[in-house]
Symmetry: C2
Subunit: 317 residues, 2 copies
């Protein structure tokens, strides 16, 4: 894990985006240097080394998914009117919206540039997986935006949205690594499903921590989703259980943020929405484990991926 | 020509972008159905048939460049705060800015989908040319935006900007066609240069018609560039020739649009800026002709491309 992370950070530092005009390229280096868990590129490297293949060959694919992820952050932050990203100004705040749109576009093109550094004989599989993922991520983001103006969202719709917006990129990341390792189709598909289910568990934990996390550990203000009125699975469950009494408090305009977060959290606990979320997250976690177990490599080879899955599931951050 | 256009229009109609949510996909079908000259896809087909190769094999590449072009229109219109596109609402006006950003992103991904429909053995060349072009188009658009806030822009900088923003896509379009026809590297490069020089002449004529065109033929209000204060080659030349006297009128805040356009046009004629522009455009046109002449195919094969070049150069629209 540590080694993979070091390689990724080193690769990012040693291959900065370079070109002119500088205000087009600077945002790319800025956002990718803000850090993050680097889960996606690490998954790509692990998906390759799982098959005892030289995982350094998967570095360009790992960069492709990390660059793609950062492209999506630049554009999502514009769409969400986000001011901060990892405690720093978002790209459109530090530069401006037109600049951020264009730098994001360039970053998407640069993700393909990285993919093109992989073995040409594999391009057919790599580009196929990548482009399907890229399409689905756009669909997920649009669903997420559409939910903002919908009165009610079903749990299934919510789960489908996070599958598209977040999970398929994790699935694609590990699949690209497996493709580079020349894994057969069955194993590739199992690893893709492993990544997708890990992504589901991961995003649900993110939703949980946003409301029930420890501000000291996460370093974030708690209740961001409640304050912004986001229809997470907690909201959907509590609304189903409690109906209009819950809705009145959730939509209350005159409460200060802290009070509102406190009241809504109480509703969530009362309705058992927190436990409901954790149960669903756990079921995706178990599904991911089973997919990994079915991959045809010796089980000792799988310990890194199991550890990563466990870390993401049991994290406080 | 007519046949190629019919094939392109037919292909666009018969392969609509399909998926969910519909407000993500509708803008793609909307913008590509607004029409336009379809110069880029026609160039791709012509670049293929020039070598007596079955030009239908170039249809996916032709679609890729047309889809890419339409992606860039969606995003450029947001950046330029444009309200109308070909007499209809721009995408961000008909939907909204976040929707338009995301639909544009998807359209860029879909351009790659079309490219992936070409023969896999050619992907290396096709993706190489395409991604270089895509990078340069972003650079050109950023230069164009940067010019807006610069006091002075040199003629060379302006020509470099339109080379990147507009011309390389025409060069890439015909090059993709030539790649599919298995043309050798020398011919591919000559055709690329043919397309780039044609693009330069084309864009300069666009600038000319914006100011000196006949509103009845173009169907546009004349003087849009003057009203919006765009630093075209006419502006750069007149400023060099006339200095502050010209600048005062160009930057005048109290004149109504029609009066201002009239006065600035007079300055352009007085300075010989219109003739200067036409001379430069003509030189790119001649350069394009020479590149085409040097391609190693019988000259009767080149008549379609010569005709297209002549049409773009001598157009009133």
């Amino acid at each position: 894990m540590e080694e993979y992370l070091k390689i990724i950070e080193g690769q990012i530092k040693s291959s900065p985006f370079a070109g002119k005009p500088s205000n087009l390229y600077d945002p790319l280096n800025y956002i990718i240097s803000l850090g993050g868990k680097r889960v996606r590129p690490v998954l790509a490297l692990m998906g390759c080394s799982l098959f005892d293949y030289n995982w350094e060959r998967a570095i360009p694919a790992a960069m492709a998914v990390e660059v793609f992820h950062n492209f999506s952050l630049i554009h999502d932050d514009i769409m969400d009117h986000a001011v901060l990203r990892r405690g720093n100004k978002t790209v459109h705040e530090k530069w401006d919206v037109p600049n951020a749109i264009l730098s994001g576009d360039l970053m998407l093109v640069k993700a393909y540039d990285w993919l093109m550094k992989c073995d040409t004989e594999l391009w057919h599989l790599l580009f196929g997986s990548f482009n399907k993922m890229a399409t689905e991520v756009c669909e997920g983001q649009q669903m997420d935006m559409n939910f903002e103006v919908l009165d009610s969202v079903s749990e299934n719709d919510y789960l489908e949205m996070i599958r598209l917006k977040t999970s398929v990129l994790l699935g694609c990341s590990i699949e690209l690594g497996a493709i580079i390792a020349r894994a057969d189709e069955t194993d590739r598909k199992k690893l893709y499903q492993f990544g997708v289910n890990m992504g589901m568990a991961f995003q649900l934990m993110d939703d949980y921590l946003d409301t029930f996390g420890d501000p000291l550990s996460t370093g974030k203000r708690i209740g961001g989703d409640i304050v912004s009125g986001k229809k997470t699975i907690l909201y959907i469950h509590a609304l189903n259980q409690l109906g209009s009494g819950f809705l009145k408090d959730f939509n209350h305009k005159d409460l200060d943020a802290e009070t509102k977060v406190g009241i809504v959290k109480q509703h969530y606990v009362e309705a058992g929405s927190d436990k409901h979320l954790l149960r669903i997250s756990e079921s995706f976690y178990s599904k991911a484990k089973r997919e990994l177990e079915a991959v045809k490599v010796p089980s000792e080879k799988k310990s890194d991926l199991e550890k990563l899955l466990g870390m993401l599931q049991n994290r406080a951050v």
